[in-house]
């Protein structure tokens, strides 16, 4: 099949940031920081343009509503583990990868642009753009991965870029700690992913002979490999694999999927692996916007969606996805109610929204795949409004030099563009018609309801209300009322290079909901879900409005009501404010258990027992030597005794040999 130019050369999309990364990192950065920013940004811009063209070409090829094939227009052999177990690197083009490419390049391009202004004058300006490019490349590589190993590879790379960017201010201990935490927690989750890959690889390879002939290889493409998603997602494989029992009544497929999901949960910060995300806000704000709101954190969702047929084949895994997602959304929303740091509130809101997306996947079925679409849709819209929120918050922080919302206030007049775009985003996330969030959230709620997950539906509904409440809380506190601190008084609007992305994202957040998403992205046969389901939309909107109202009641004007309410909840409030002490629990586990109960005893054991064993053998030989040397008494007659005794013993031994 003849593809369009961009489809055929889709590898350019991840390659551009890579080339730019190498160029900027090795050559441009040392020479000129300014050009580093420009080159980095334009490379992403170009990639974004290519991504749009790709989308256009693709949906020209497979018009909306039709069955859309996944294409692998380019691939090459990279790692040959053994005969029949080869990892190809390549580019997979299918609806969700295109959506993600569009989102990633768009948000990344805008963040790059924004950063030119935001990071202006910072030390490490060039380094920053190098990292951003690296991240963008890795994320795009992840998105286009045609097999699970490439996914894992890029998965790790985004982890590292995230690590580097969170710890960008490396002389700030809190940033260093946060970056480590982010990396290690996600790494821990990746362990599950990796084991999942091992399990899939092992049985994938084992079943390949019997299953693969059913899967025709496309002409011209590299032969199908056990790691390929196309193989892993194929019903033939899943049928064979799903029939192998593991333990506790779980099928091996469920075990593998749960393991893979652990990785996804780590990246997407599902409870209880969520703890790194709020801390990750130590990085520069644009980074939070790009990585920790719009793109990287949705990689988990993307992975789950990518392997959706496999998850769907294992009901247990999918149930776990649904309930963990639902719980996380509630849990994070509750915490978000009490936080004072603007970025942290946004971080918890991200958590909550990621929970939504996961839940949407979890409530979906192969046959009834509305949730799948909804999840991707929400991913799509959320990327825009959450990036916007972060960038807006970044502009505010840039202006007032603090993250504490109680140090802000009254910024609406000083920063009109920021204020307006922030409001749009807040409305979008709260799910108010006609902003983007309304549509996607509506679809998620609908999916939950139709999937007969009633509890989750009500949870989601409640969370929608909470979301509106806390988002408006920060909106009110930040932009309304009087200046509360010195910084806020002198705040002024950000330069154009920063506000331009805000405005673009504002527009996107406002209109993205009208994209007929379900036409393009669906699993199996397209499920018609046109229009608005009022059974869902009405309660959702009501919940949102209730949240906004309550928020206005507490925070729109300066009053003691909020403080009173906090006092009323007393201990419960403190527990929530301390994020349910999950961090402390982790700290206990790492410090007390891993460091003090495992590492320290092992270090001690090594120094004293193992090493002691070696020293002991040395000591015993020396002691044996000094003890034996005492035989040398200097008395010749004693020596003679030994001689005579030796002869007798010798005689006895010879005699013994012969008897």
């Amino acid at each position: 099949m003849e593809h369009g130019f961009v489809i055929a050369h889709a590898w350019l999309i991840p390659a551009l940031p890579l080339v730019s990364f190498a160029l900027v990192g090795l050559f441009i950065r040392p020479l000129s920081a300014r050009w580093a920013g420009i080159v980095a940004t334009s490379s992403i811009g170009l990639a974004a343009a290519l991504a749009y063209t790709l989308a256009w070409e693709y949906w020209t090829l497979f018009p909306a509503g039709q069955h859309a094939e996944s294409l692998v227009p380019w691939s090459m052999e990279w790692l040959r583990y053994k005969e029949g177990l080869v990892v190809n690197i390549g580019v997979l083009v299918d609806p969700i990868s295109i959506v993600l490419m569009v989102v990633v390049t768009t948000v990344s391009g805008l963040v790059h642009l924004y950063s030119i202004g935001y990071m202006h004058g910072e030390t490490g300006y060039g380094r920053y753009f190098t990292y951003l490019n690296l991240f963008t490349f890795s994320m795009l590589g992840l998105v286009v991965a045609p097999n699970i190993v490439q996914m894992y590879v890029c998965w790790e790379l985004v982890g590292v870029s995230s690590f580097l960017l969170i710890g960008f201010y490396y002389d700030r201990p809190s940033a260093v700690a946060a970056s480590k935490k982010a990396f290690i927690v996600t790494r821990f989750a990746d362990l599950g992913f990796m084991v999942g890959v091992l399990v899939l690889g092992y049985w994938g390879y084992g079943l390949f002979e019997t299953v693969a002939p059913a899967l025709a290889t496309e002409p011209g493409a590299l032969p199908l490999q056990p790691f390929d998603f196309r193989y892993l997602n194929s019903p033939e494989f899943l049928a064979a694999f799903g029939s192998i029992p593991a333990f506790f009544g779980l099928s091996l497929l469920s075990v593998a999927m749960l393991l893979v999901y652990t990785g996804a949960a780590g990246k997407s910060a599902m409870f209880p692996l969520h703890i790194w995300l709020p801390d990750a806000m130590e990085g520069p704000t644009p980074v939070s916007a790009l990585i920790h709101a719009a793109t990287m954190v949705v990689a988990g969702v993307y992975l789950t969606a990518r392997l959706f047929p496999a998850f769907a084949a294992s009901e247990d895994a999918l149930l776990a996805v649904a309930y963990i997602g639902g719980f996380t959304s509630l849990f994070a929303a509750v915490i978000a109610l009490t936080q004072d740091d603007i970025k942290r509130v946004l971080a918890f809101s991200t958590l909550s929204q990621l929970g939504y997306m996961m839940m949407a996947l979890g409530v979906s079925q192969m046959a009834e795949s509305l949730g799948y679409t909804a999840s991707m849709f929400h991913l799509f819209t959320h990327a825009f409004f959450k990036a916007l929120l972060f960038l807006g918050a970044g502009a505010v922080i840039h202006a007032v030099h603090t993250n504490d919302i109680w140090q802000m206030g009254g910024l609406a007049r000083k920063m009109p563009i920021t204020h307006l775009t922030f409001l749009v985003a807040t409305l979008a996330i709260s799910g108010i018609w006609p902003f983007a969030g309304f549509f996607s959230k509506d679809e998620i709620l609908a999916a939950a309801l139709h999937g007969h997950f009633t509890v989750l539906f009500y949870v989601a509904l409640f969370v929608a209300g909470l979301t509106a409440f806390y988002m408006f809380r920060i909106y009110f506190v930040t932009f309304w009322g009087a200046h509360r601190a010195h910084g806020a008084e002198h705040a002024h609007e950000a330069p154009l290079v920063m506000t331009l992305p805000l405005m673009i994202l504002g527009v996107l957040s406002a209109v993205a909901g009208f994209v007929p998403f379900g036409q393009y992205v669906h699993m199996g046969e397209h499920v018609e879900h046109g229009g608005i389901d009022f059974a869902v939309a009405l309660p959702a909107t009501l919940a949102a409005l209730a949240g906004i109202g309550l928020s206005a009641f507490f925070y729109a004007t300066a009053s003691e009501r909020a403080a009173k309410a906090a006092r009323f909840f007393g201990r419960a409030y403190r527990v929530v404010k301390q994020k349910f002490y999950v961090d402390e629990l982790y700290l206990f586990v790492t410090k007390q258990i891993i460091f003090h109960l495992i590492a320290r005893p092992i270090a001690w054991f090594d120094r004293h027992v193992v090493d002691g064993g070696v020293n002991l053998s040395g000591w015993s030989i020396r002691t044996l030597g000094s003890e034996s040397s005492r035989l040398q008494t200097g008395q010749v007659q004693t020596y003679g005794l030994w001689f005579a005794g030796g002869s007798v013993v010798l005689l006895f031994l010879i005699w013994a040999v012969h008897v």
């Binding site: 490396y170 002389d171 260093v176 970056s179 790494r187 092992y202 891993i594 270090a603 090493d611």
Partner: protein, 514 residues
């Protein structure tokens, strides 16, 4: 004299050149060493290229062969009555190891550019040591192998004892004695094979064609494996490594962790598994279990270390565990993983120790808590350190990932002589190390390079100088090369590893002995 002999001769001749230079001309000595190692590097490139041309013809044939195909073979009878000969040659594994060694010694010489105490002795010993290492990787006669093996170990004593730091005498003695005690076991194994084969030869290729009774393999295999395991830091015989590495001077740590520890894995693969397939089948699981302990134990041990070198040494214990794990797992992926890990760890840890030396040369401390914020004043070193650290935690794109996934997949796929549940469980336990590695690497590096500068004395330190940049740059490039283009090494080693695997499946046939 053929190419392979030159590879052994060049370091030796360089050593002679150094010896002939007056001791007070330390600058000449450095240049002679650097040029000699440069020539060696060039020769290595030539070897690689020629090997590729010559060997690629029979890559296919090796898939079913049970004897590894040697190239550029040179044979000279030596002690004929005992069947001892000078027998050198290369196969893919050797080529990979030679590349590693050439790179490490070249960078090691650059890293020791500023050694100014007893320079002449230092470089001569270093070159003598590396002569031994090349000899081991290139010889295919057990006598010759053993000879070079000990030659590679012994200069270590003086190198650590004279130029080391800390409890250097103790460390040097412990290292030397433990390694040679290990070689004692190897020797016992060699003799057992020699006599059991009845061939009156130490020729590895011929010994490989002999049929050893199972009872013999049962005890000889662990002998040889443990003997090599000592230098490969097999738990619990690894304890020479932290002390030795931490006391050694920079280039010696580099060589030692980078190359010498590989002799263990190399020997275990080349001799223990190659000659004793039955033994390998019997003991594979046991040594896999030990190597698993290695992997986790080393990484947990590293967490609590205060000294950068101890820290790296424990991480080496962990990483060498992967090598032994791969060797013991007995399948092609694991074997490849083991060789790749040897290469990767060699480069990575060489880089680590080189960098530690450079940092130490500036700060005069290696105690992690005493440092902090160094990234600000020495960005080159910090970046290199981070890349090495990331390689060590198995980041894709760097060499560690390729090696580790090979090993993990290999372990997980297991083999037909061990319960799949056992190998699978061990692999799962071993995979946990990737988290622990992340913990200690990031924690350690963060304490050294990140955060505010803790000591105002550090404010004025300088970044890497040219020789240092050259050496780190070369090592970094290698890390990336292996990580990004793994197929080169995979292709290189796979054809030579297949015979090892095939031997496990077939009872070796005593063919006509030529």
């Amino acid at each position: 004299m053929g190419l392979v002999s030159w590879l052994i001769a060049v370091p030796f001749l360089t050593m002679l050149g150094v010896v002939a230079t007056p001791a007070n001309r330390s600058h000449w000595i450095r240049w002679i060493s650097a040029v000699g190692c440069g020539i060696q590097l060039a020769l290595t490139a030539l070897l690689t290229w020629r090997y590729w041309i010559v060997a690629s013809a029979d890559f296919e044939a090796m898939n079913t062969a049970t004897l590894t195909q040697l190239h550029f073979v040179e044979r000279v009878p030596w002690f004929e009555s005992l069947g001892i000969q000078y027998f050198v040659g290369v196969d893919g594994i050797s080529v990979a190891m030679v590349i590693l060694t050439s790179i490490i010694i070249f960078t090691g010489v650059l890293a020791s550019w500023y050694v100014d105490i007893r320079t002449k002795e230092f470089f001569s010993l270093l070159l003598l040591l590396v002569t031994g290492v090349f000899g081991v990787f290139l010889s295919f006669d057990l006598f010759l192998f053993f000879m070079f093996y000990e030659l590679a170990v012994l200069p270590m004593y003086l190198l650590i004892g004279v130029w080391g730091t800390g409890p250097k005498e103790y460390s040097a003695m412990k290292l030397t004695l433990m390694l040679l005690a290990g070689s004692a076991f190897v020797l016992v194994g060699f003799f057992a094979l020699y006599h059991a084969s009845g061939l009156h030869t130490f020729d590895l290729q011929q010994l490989a064609q002999a049929d050893y009774p199972r009872a013999l393999q049962r005890w000889v295999f662990p002998m040889i494996f443990v003997g090599f395991g000592v230098i490969g830091a097999l738990y619990p015989l690894h304890t020479w490594s932290p002390d030795g590495h931490s006391s050694a001077p920079t280039a010696v740590s580099m060589l030692h962790a980078g190359v010498l520890m590989k002799l263990g894995g190399y020997g275990a693969l080349r001799i223990a598994v190659y000659l004793l397939p039955e033994g390998a089948k019997m003991w594979g699981l046991f040594f896999m279990a030990l190597a698993t302990i290695n992997i986790l134990y080393g990484s947990f041990g590293a967490i609590m270390q205060r000294d950068l070198k101890y820290f790296t040494a424990y991480s080496s214990v962990s990483h060498c565990g992967f090598v032994l794990f791969g060797v013991a797992a007995l399948n092609i992926m694991a074997f490849k993983g083991a060789v790749l890990q040897m290469f990767s760890h060699g480069i990575m840890t060489g880089l680590f120790f080189g960098l530690i030396g450079m940092v130490y040369g500036r700060t005069h401390t290696r105690i992690i808590p005493e440092m902090g914020g160094l990234g600000k004043v020495m960005p080159w070193l910090a970046t290199s350190f981070y890349i090495a650290g990331l390689a060590s935690l198995g980041l894709p794109g760097l060499s560690g990932f390729v090696a580790e996934t090979h090993v993990f997949l290999g372990g997980f796929f297991g083999n037909e002589w061990a319960s799949p549940w056992a190998t699978g469980t061990l692999t799962l336990i071993a995979t946990m190390s990737i988290v622990v590695t992340a913990v200690y690497v990031l924690r350690g590096l963060a304490l050294v390079f990140q955060g505010p500068i803790t000591n105002e004395h550090f404010e004025h330190l300088d970044d890497a100088k040219l020789p240092e940049r050259l050496s780190t740059g070369l090592l970094l490039a290698t890390l990336f090369f292996v990580g990004l283009m793994p197929w080169f090494f995979i292709q290189l080693t796979e054809s030579s590893l297949m015979p090892l695997l095939n031997r496990l499946h077939e009872v070796p046939v005593v063919a006509s002995l030529h």
